[in-house]
Protein backbone atom coordinates (compact mmCIF):
# COMPACT_ATOMS: atom_id res chain seq x y z
CA UNK A 1 0.00 0.00 0.00
CA UNK A 2 2.91 2.35 0.63
CA UNK A 3 3.58 2.39 -3.14
CA UNK A 4 0.12 3.68 -3.94
CA UNK A 5 0.33 6.42 -1.34
CA UNK A 6 3.58 7.60 -2.86
CA UNK A 7 1.93 7.74 -6.25
CA UNK A 8 -0.96 9.79 -4.87
CA UNK A 9 1.58 12.28 -3.52
CA UNK A 10 3.24 12.52 -6.88
CA UNK A 11 -0.06 13.07 -8.67
CA UNK A 12 -0.82 15.91 -6.27
CA UNK A 13 2.52 17.57 -6.91
CA UNK A 14 2.18 17.29 -10.69
CA UNK A 15 -1.32 18.74 -10.43
CA UNK A 16 0.04 21.71 -8.53
CA UNK A 17 2.71 22.25 -11.16
CA UNK A 18 0.06 22.08 -13.84
CA UNK A 19 -1.91 24.79 -12.08
CA UNK A 20 1.12 27.07 -12.25
CA UNK A 21 1.93 26.37 -15.88
CA UNK A 22 -1.72 26.87 -16.86
CA UNK A 23 -1.81 30.22 -15.10
CA UNK A 24 1.41 31.33 -16.78
CA UNK A 25 0.06 30.22 -20.12
CA UNK A 26 -3.08 32.28 -19.74
CA UNK A 27 -1.25 35.35 -18.50
CA UNK A 28 1.06 35.25 -21.51
CA UNK A 29 -1.81 34.69 -23.91
CA UNK A 30 -3.49 37.88 -22.71
CA UNK A 31 -0.25 39.84 -22.87
CA UNK A 32 0.56 38.92 -26.47
CA UNK A 33 -2.34 40.99 -27.68
CA UNK A 34 -1.19 44.11 -25.88
CA UNK A 35 2.39 43.64 -26.99
CA UNK A 36 1.23 43.34 -30.58
CA UNK A 37 -0.81 46.53 -30.30
CA UNK A 38 2.24 48.32 -28.99
CA UNK A 39 4.24 47.02 -31.94
CA UNK A 40 1.64 48.38 -34.34
CA UNK A 41 1.56 51.73 -32.60
CA UNK A 42 5.30 52.22 -32.91
CA UNK A 43 5.35 51.74 -36.67
CA UNK A 44 4.10 55.12 -37.96
CA UNK A 45 6.94 56.91 -36.20
CA UNK A 46 9.62 54.83 -37.88
CA UNK A 47 7.85 55.20 -41.21
CA UNK A 48 7.64 58.99 -40.94
CA UNK A 49 11.22 59.09 -39.79
CA UNK A 50 12.36 57.14 -42.84
CA UNK A 51 10.38 59.49 -45.03
CA UNK A 52 12.00 62.58 -43.57
CA UNK A 53 15.47 61.05 -43.76
CA UNK A 54 14.77 60.11 -47.36
CA UNK A 55 13.77 63.70 -48.15
CA UNK A 56 16.82 64.96 -46.40
CA UNK A 57 19.14 62.66 -48.32
CA UNK A 58 17.73 64.03 -51.55
CA UNK A 59 17.68 67.64 -50.54
CA UNK A 60 21.16 67.61 -49.21
CA UNK A 61 23.30 65.13 -51.07
CA UNK A 62 26.64 66.88 -50.53
CA UNK A 63 26.62 66.56 -46.75
CA UNK A 64 27.19 63.07 -45.49
CA UNK A 65 26.70 62.26 -41.88
CA UNK A 66 29.24 59.89 -40.26
CA UNK A 67 26.41 57.40 -39.67
CA UNK A 68 25.88 57.00 -43.37
CA UNK A 69 29.49 56.48 -44.38
CA UNK A 70 30.57 52.91 -44.86
CA UNK A 71 34.00 52.31 -43.36
CA UNK A 72 36.20 50.07 -45.39
CA UNK A 73 38.22 48.59 -42.59
CA UNK A 74 36.21 46.94 -39.86
CA UNK A 75 38.09 46.66 -36.60
CA UNK A 76 35.37 46.58 -33.98
CA UNK A 77 31.73 45.67 -34.16
CA UNK A 78 28.98 46.43 -31.71
CA UNK A 79 25.90 44.42 -30.91
CA UNK A 80 22.80 45.49 -29.08
CA UNK A 81 21.42 42.24 -27.73
CA UNK A 82 17.76 42.33 -26.80
CA UNK A 83 16.72 39.48 -24.53
CA UNK A 84 14.11 38.93 -21.84
CA UNK A 85 14.21 39.65 -18.15
CA UNK A 86 12.48 36.46 -17.17
CA UNK A 87 12.94 32.84 -18.08
CA UNK A 88 10.42 30.06 -18.68
CA UNK A 89 10.04 31.01 -22.31
CA UNK A 90 11.39 27.92 -24.02
CA UNK A 91 14.46 28.25 -26.18
CA UNK A 92 13.85 31.90 -27.01
CA UNK A 93 16.90 33.33 -25.27
CA UNK A 94 19.22 30.40 -25.83
CA UNK A 95 18.56 30.46 -29.57
CA UNK A 96 19.35 34.16 -29.60
CA UNK A 97 22.54 33.75 -27.60
CA UNK A 98 23.69 30.90 -29.78
CA UNK A 99 23.24 33.04 -32.85
CA UNK A 100 25.17 35.91 -31.26
CA UNK A 101 27.97 33.54 -30.28
CA UNK A 102 28.14 32.28 -33.83
CA UNK A 103 28.46 35.85 -35.07
CA UNK A 104 31.13 36.68 -32.52
CA UNK A 105 33.05 33.58 -33.51
CA UNK A 106 32.89 34.66 -37.13
CA UNK A 107 34.27 38.11 -36.31
CA UNK A 108 36.97 36.61 -34.11
CA UNK A 109 38.28 34.63 -37.04
CA UNK A 110 38.57 37.88 -38.95
CA UNK A 111 40.37 39.44 -36.00
CA UNK A 112 37.57 41.86 -35.23
CA UNK A 113 36.88 42.74 -31.62
CA UNK A 114 33.27 42.78 -30.46
CA UNK A 115 31.53 45.03 -27.99
CA UNK A 116 28.11 44.37 -26.55
CA UNK A 117 25.34 46.18 -24.86
CA UNK A 118 22.75 43.95 -23.33
CA UNK A 119 19.07 44.50 -22.67
CA UNK A 120 17.33 42.20 -20.27
CA UNK A 121 18.50 40.31 -17.21
CA UNK A 122 18.96 37.03 -19.05
CA UNK A 123 21.39 38.53 -21.53
CA UNK A 124 23.41 40.16 -18.75
CA UNK A 125 23.63 36.86 -16.91
CA UNK A 126 24.63 34.92 -19.96
CA UNK A 127 27.24 37.25 -21.39
CA UNK A 128 28.74 37.74 -17.96
CA UNK A 129 29.95 34.20 -18.00
CA UNK A 130 31.84 34.47 -21.25
CA UNK A 131 34.63 36.82 -21.94
CA UNK A 132 32.96 39.53 -24.01
CA UNK A 133 33.33 43.22 -23.18
CA UNK A 134 29.96 44.64 -22.17
CA UNK A 135 29.74 48.38 -22.69
CA UNK A 136 26.29 48.95 -21.34
CA UNK A 137 23.33 47.17 -19.83
CA UNK A 138 19.70 47.81 -19.03
CA UNK A 139 17.15 45.57 -17.42
CA UNK A 140 13.74 45.53 -15.87
CA UNK A 141 11.99 47.27 -18.76
CA UNK A 142 8.70 45.63 -17.87
CA UNK A 143 5.60 45.31 -19.98
CA UNK A 144 5.67 48.71 -21.61
CA UNK A 145 9.27 49.65 -22.37
CA UNK A 146 9.83 53.32 -22.95
CA UNK A 147 12.34 54.98 -25.21
CA UNK A 148 13.78 56.70 -22.16
CA UNK A 149 14.99 53.36 -20.88
CA UNK A 150 16.88 52.76 -24.10
CA UNK A 151 18.49 56.14 -24.66
CA UNK A 152 21.44 55.33 -22.41
CA UNK A 153 22.55 52.07 -23.94
CA UNK A 154 22.09 53.38 -27.45
CA UNK A 155 24.08 56.50 -26.72
CA UNK A 156 26.95 54.40 -25.40
CA UNK A 157 27.16 52.69 -28.77
CA UNK A 158 26.57 55.77 -30.91
CA UNK A 159 29.28 57.67 -29.05
CA UNK A 160 31.74 54.88 -29.69
CA UNK A 161 30.76 54.88 -33.31
CA UNK A 162 31.25 58.64 -33.56
CA UNK A 163 34.65 58.31 -31.99
CA UNK A 164 35.55 55.69 -34.54
CA UNK A 165 35.85 52.93 -31.98
CA UNK A 166 33.07 50.97 -33.62
CA UNK A 167 32.75 50.37 -37.33
CA UNK A 168 29.51 48.45 -37.41
CA UNK A 169 26.50 48.25 -35.17
CA UNK A 170 23.84 45.57 -35.14
CA UNK A 171 20.74 44.87 -33.13
CA UNK A 172 19.82 41.27 -32.30
CA UNK A 173 16.31 40.34 -31.24
CA UNK A 174 13.54 37.83 -31.71
CA UNK A 175 11.28 38.91 -34.53
CA UNK A 176 7.65 38.13 -33.82
CA UNK A 177 6.37 36.31 -36.91
CA UNK A 178 3.34 34.79 -35.25
CA UNK A 179 2.46 33.07 -32.02
CA UNK A 180 4.18 29.86 -33.03
CA UNK A 181 7.18 31.29 -34.85
CA UNK A 182 9.77 33.71 -33.54
CA UNK A 183 12.80 34.35 -35.66
CA UNK A 184 16.17 35.40 -34.32
CA UNK A 185 17.00 38.48 -36.37
CA UNK A 186 20.18 40.49 -36.72
CA UNK A 187 19.54 43.90 -38.23
CA UNK A 188 22.35 46.25 -39.21
CA UNK A 189 21.92 49.69 -37.64
CA UNK A 190 25.11 51.44 -38.63
CA UNK A 191 26.25 52.44 -41.12
CA UNK A 192 22.79 53.35 -42.33
CA UNK A 193 22.03 52.00 -45.75
CA UNK A 194 21.74 54.79 -48.34
CA UNK A 195 18.21 55.88 -49.05
CA UNK A 196 16.70 54.32 -52.13
CA UNK A 197 13.80 56.43 -53.17
CA UNK A 198 12.77 57.69 -56.55
CA UNK A 199 14.80 60.76 -57.52
CA UNK A 200 13.00 64.04 -57.17
CA UNK A 201 12.29 65.99 -60.27
CA UNK A 202 13.53 69.36 -59.22
CA UNK A 203 16.15 70.63 -56.89
CA UNK A 204 15.00 71.94 -53.58
CA UNK A 205 16.32 72.27 -50.09
CA UNK A 206 14.94 72.76 -46.64
CA UNK A 207 15.09 75.88 -44.60
CA UNK A 208 17.07 74.65 -41.64
CA UNK A 209 16.64 76.01 -38.17
CA UNK A 210 19.34 76.04 -36.87
CA UNK A 211 21.59 74.02 -39.22
CA UNK A 212 21.58 70.86 -41.28
CA UNK A 213 24.34 68.95 -39.49
CA UNK A 214 22.93 69.08 -36.00
CA UNK A 215 19.39 68.42 -37.21
CA UNK A 216 20.50 65.44 -39.22
CA UNK A 217 22.44 64.13 -36.25
CA UNK A 218 19.36 64.40 -34.04
CA UNK A 219 17.18 62.78 -36.65
CA UNK A 220 19.48 59.83 -37.22
CA UNK A 221 19.93 59.31 -33.48
CA UNK A 222 16.19 59.20 -33.03
CA UNK A 223 15.83 56.92 -36.00
CA UNK A 224 18.27 54.41 -34.51
CA UNK A 225 16.48 54.68 -31.20
CA UNK A 226 13.16 53.97 -32.80
CA UNK A 227 14.61 50.91 -34.53
CA UNK A 228 15.97 49.54 -31.27
CA UNK A 229 12.69 50.39 -29.58
CA UNK A 230 10.81 48.42 -32.18
CA UNK A 231 13.20 45.50 -31.73
CA UNK A 232 12.47 45.61 -28.01
CA UNK A 233 8.74 45.49 -28.66
CA UNK A 234 9.12 42.63 -31.12
CA UNK A 235 11.15 40.76 -28.56
CA UNK A 236 8.54 41.39 -25.89
CA UNK A 237 5.78 39.97 -28.06
CA UNK A 238 8.04 37.01 -28.88
CA UNK A 239 8.71 36.45 -25.21
CA UNK A 240 5.03 36.17 -24.38
CA UNK A 241 4.34 33.95 -27.38
CA UNK A 242 7.24 31.65 -26.54
CA UNK A 243 6.23 31.50 -22.91
CA UNK A 244 2.67 30.69 -23.83
CA UNK A 245 3.76 27.82 -26.08
CA UNK A 246 6.31 26.52 -23.56
CA UNK A 247 3.76 26.60 -20.77
CA UNK A 248 1.15 24.91 -22.92
CA UNK A 249 3.61 22.11 -23.61
CA UNK A 250 4.38 21.88 -19.92
CA UNK A 251 0.67 21.63 -19.09
CA UNK A 252 0.22 18.93 -21.72
CA UNK A 253 3.18 17.02 -20.34
CA UNK A 254 1.73 17.33 -16.86
CA UNK A 255 -1.53 15.86 -18.17
CA UNK A 256 0.29 12.90 -19.68
CA UNK A 257 2.25 12.39 -16.51
CA UNK A 258 -0.91 12.45 -14.44
CA UNK A 259 -2.51 9.89 -16.73
CA UNK A 260 0.50 7.58 -16.41
CA UNK A 261 0.61 8.02 -12.67
CA UNK A 262 -3.15 7.27 -12.39
CA UNK A 263 -2.61 4.07 -14.33
CA UNK A 264 0.26 3.09 -12.07
CA UNK A 265 -1.81 3.95 -9.02
CA UNK A 266 -4.77 1.85 -10.18
CA UNK A 267 -2.48 -1.08 -10.95
CA UNK A 268 -0.89 -0.84 -7.51
CA UNK A 269 -4.31 -0.64 -5.88
CA UNK A 270 -5.58 -3.66 -7.81
CA UNK A 271 -2.46 -5.64 -6.99
CA UNK A 272 -2.93 -4.86 -3.31
CA UNK A 273 -6.59 -5.93 -3.40
CA UNK A 274 -5.75 -9.11 -5.28
CA UNK A 275 -3.06 -9.87 -2.80
CA UNK A 276 -5.43 -9.31 0.12
CA UNK A 277 -8.12 -11.54 -1.40
CA UNK A 278 -5.66 -14.31 -2.11
CA UNK A 279 -4.39 -14.01 1.45
CA UNK A 280 -7.93 -14.29 2.81
CA UNK A 281 -8.72 -17.20 0.50
CA UNK A 282 -5.44 -18.87 1.43
CA UNK A 283 -6.16 -18.29 5.09
CA UNK A 284 -9.67 -19.68 4.77
CA UNK A 285 -8.38 -22.74 2.96
CA UNK A 286 -5.86 -23.32 5.72
CA UNK A 287 -8.63 -23.26 8.32
Amino acid sequence: MSGSREIVGKIKSVQNTRKVTRALEMVSASKIRKAQDRMEASRPYARMMRQVIGHLAHANPEYRHPFTIEREEVKRVGYIVVATDRGLCGGLNSNLFRKVLGELQGWKEKDVAPSLVVLGRKAAQYFNRIDVPIAGAAQGLGESPRIEDLIGIIKVMLDEYRKGELDRLYVVYNDFVNTMVQQVTIDPLLPLPPATEEPMLQYWDYLYEPDAESLLDDLLTRYIESLVYQATLENLASEHAARMVAMKNASDNANNLIDDLRLAYNKARQAAITQEISEIVGGAAAV
Binding site: R38, A41, S42, P44, Y45, A46, M48, M49, Q51, V52, H55, L56, A59, V117, V118, A124, Q125, N128, R129, I134, A135, G136, A137, A138, Q139, R146, I147, E148, I151, G152, I153, K155, V156, D159, W204, D205, Y206, L207, Y208, E209, P210, A212, L215, D218, L219, R222, E225, S226, Y229
Partner: protein, 141 residues
Protein backbone atom coordinates in the same frame (compact mmCIF):
# COMPACT_ATOMS: atom_id res chain seq x y z
CA UNK B 1 -12.89 75.76 -50.19
CA UNK B 2 -9.88 76.71 -48.17
CA UNK B 3 -6.76 74.78 -49.00
CA UNK B 4 -5.45 72.40 -46.41
CA UNK B 5 -2.23 70.76 -45.44
CA UNK B 6 -1.85 67.21 -44.20
CA UNK B 7 -0.62 67.01 -40.67
CA UNK B 8 0.84 63.98 -38.92
CA UNK B 9 1.89 63.97 -35.32
CA UNK B 10 3.62 60.79 -34.28
CA UNK B 11 5.71 59.69 -31.36
CA UNK B 12 7.75 56.52 -31.02
CA UNK B 13 5.05 55.03 -28.85
CA UNK B 14 2.12 55.75 -31.10
CA UNK B 15 0.32 57.91 -33.64
CA UNK B 16 -1.07 61.01 -32.00
CA UNK B 17 -2.85 62.85 -34.79
CA UNK B 18 -3.28 62.43 -38.49
CA UNK B 19 -5.53 64.58 -40.62
CA UNK B 20 -6.03 67.74 -42.64
CA UNK B 21 -5.34 71.15 -41.20
CA UNK B 22 -5.74 74.70 -42.39
CA UNK B 23 -2.97 75.93 -40.16
CA UNK B 24 -0.46 74.39 -37.78
CA UNK B 25 1.27 76.29 -34.99
CA UNK B 26 4.26 75.00 -33.12
CA UNK B 27 7.01 76.27 -30.90
CA UNK B 28 10.25 75.83 -32.77
CA UNK B 29 13.61 76.03 -31.17
CA UNK B 30 14.20 79.40 -32.78
CA UNK B 31 10.74 80.83 -32.30
CA UNK B 32 7.05 80.33 -32.86
CA UNK B 33 6.05 78.88 -36.19
CA UNK B 34 2.81 79.13 -38.06
CA UNK B 35 2.55 76.83 -41.00
CA UNK B 36 -0.02 77.44 -43.68
CA UNK B 37 -0.58 75.23 -46.70
CA UNK B 38 2.21 75.48 -49.30
CA UNK B 39 4.76 76.57 -46.77
CA UNK B 40 8.36 76.27 -47.96
CA UNK B 41 10.16 73.06 -46.96
CA UNK B 42 11.46 73.46 -43.46
CA UNK B 43 13.19 71.31 -40.91
CA UNK B 44 13.59 72.34 -37.31
CA UNK B 45 13.77 71.14 -33.77
CA UNK B 46 10.79 71.73 -31.54
CA UNK B 47 10.96 73.21 -28.11
CA UNK B 48 8.78 71.71 -25.40
CA UNK B 49 5.37 73.24 -25.75
CA UNK B 50 2.07 73.13 -27.53
CA UNK B 51 1.33 72.17 -31.09
CA UNK B 52 -1.92 73.70 -32.23
CA UNK B 53 -3.74 72.34 -35.24
CA UNK B 54 -6.63 74.19 -36.87
CA UNK B 55 -8.84 71.77 -38.70
CA UNK B 56 -10.96 72.64 -41.76
CA UNK B 57 -14.07 72.28 -39.58
CA UNK B 58 -12.89 75.25 -37.59
CA UNK B 59 -11.85 73.22 -34.57
CA UNK B 60 -8.61 73.72 -32.77
CA UNK B 61 -6.67 70.79 -31.44
CA UNK B 62 -3.92 71.10 -28.89
CA UNK B 63 -1.11 68.66 -28.35
CA UNK B 64 1.72 68.91 -25.91
CA UNK B 65 5.13 67.78 -27.07
CA UNK B 66 8.20 67.62 -24.90
CA UNK B 67 10.38 68.29 -27.93
CA UNK B 68 11.00 66.66 -31.25
CA UNK B 69 11.42 67.48 -34.91
CA UNK B 70 9.18 69.28 -37.33
CA UNK B 71 9.33 68.71 -41.04
CA UNK B 72 7.37 70.82 -43.49
CA UNK B 73 6.75 69.90 -47.09
CA UNK B 74 4.43 72.02 -49.26
CA UNK B 75 1.55 69.64 -48.68
CA UNK B 76 2.36 68.08 -45.37
CA UNK B 77 3.62 68.75 -41.90
CA UNK B 78 5.19 65.99 -39.88
CA UNK B 79 5.79 66.33 -36.18
CA UNK B 80 8.10 63.67 -34.80
CA UNK B 81 7.38 64.13 -31.13
CA UNK B 82 9.75 62.95 -28.43
CA UNK B 83 8.21 60.97 -25.65
CA UNK B 84 11.11 61.65 -23.37
CA UNK B 85 12.49 64.96 -22.26
CA UNK B 86 15.76 65.28 -24.10
CA UNK B 87 18.76 67.33 -23.32
CA UNK B 88 22.43 66.80 -23.87
CA UNK B 89 23.22 66.35 -20.18
CA UNK B 90 20.19 64.11 -19.60
CA UNK B 91 21.28 61.84 -22.43
CA UNK B 92 24.77 61.86 -21.01
CA UNK B 93 23.42 60.82 -17.64
CA UNK B 94 21.47 58.00 -19.25
CA UNK B 95 24.60 56.74 -20.99
CA UNK B 96 26.56 56.87 -17.75
CA UNK B 97 23.78 54.93 -16.06
CA UNK B 98 23.89 52.24 -18.75
CA UNK B 99 27.64 51.91 -18.27
CA UNK B 100 27.26 51.69 -14.52
CA UNK B 101 24.64 49.02 -14.95
CA UNK B 102 27.08 47.03 -17.06
CA UNK B 103 29.82 47.44 -14.47
CA UNK B 104 27.45 46.32 -11.76
CA UNK B 105 26.53 43.29 -13.83
CA UNK B 106 30.23 42.55 -14.32
CA UNK B 107 30.91 42.99 -10.60
CA UNK B 108 28.30 40.33 -10.01
CA UNK B 109 30.27 38.04 -12.20
CA UNK B 110 31.67 36.02 -9.26
CA UNK B 111 28.23 35.62 -7.79
CA UNK B 112 26.77 34.81 -11.19
CA UNK B 113 29.40 32.13 -11.73
CA UNK B 114 28.60 30.53 -8.40
CA UNK B 115 24.95 30.63 -9.14
CA UNK B 116 25.45 29.01 -12.52
CA UNK B 117 27.70 26.40 -10.99
CA UNK B 118 25.17 25.73 -8.29
CA UNK B 119 22.51 25.36 -10.93
CA UNK B 120 24.63 22.91 -12.90
CA UNK B 121 25.37 20.93 -9.76
CA UNK B 122 21.72 20.90 -8.87
CA UNK B 123 20.79 19.62 -12.31
CA UNK B 124 23.45 16.93 -12.01
CA UNK B 125 22.23 15.85 -8.60
CA UNK B 126 18.66 15.71 -9.84
CA UNK B 127 19.72 13.55 -12.78
CA UNK B 128 21.60 11.21 -10.48
CA UNK B 129 18.60 10.92 -8.20
CA UNK B 130 16.34 10.15 -11.13
CA UNK B 131 18.75 7.47 -12.36
CA UNK B 132 18.88 5.92 -8.88
CA UNK B 133 15.10 5.92 -8.70
CA UNK B 134 14.89 4.14 -12.02
CA UNK B 135 17.49 1.58 -10.96
CA UNK B 136 15.64 0.91 -7.73
CA UNK B 137 12.41 0.38 -9.60
CA UNK B 138 14.04 -2.05 -12.01
CA UNK B 139 15.58 -3.99 -9.12
CA UNK B 140 12.19 -4.26 -7.44
CA UNK B 141 10.61 -5.97 -10.44
Amino acid sequence: MASTIHCDIVSAEGEIFSGEATMVFAKGEEGELGIAPRHAPLLTRLAPGQVRVETPEGDEKFFFVSGGMLEVQPHMVTVLADTAVRAQDLDEAAAVKAKEEAERALADRGAGMDFAQAQAQLAEAAAQLAALERLRKQLKH
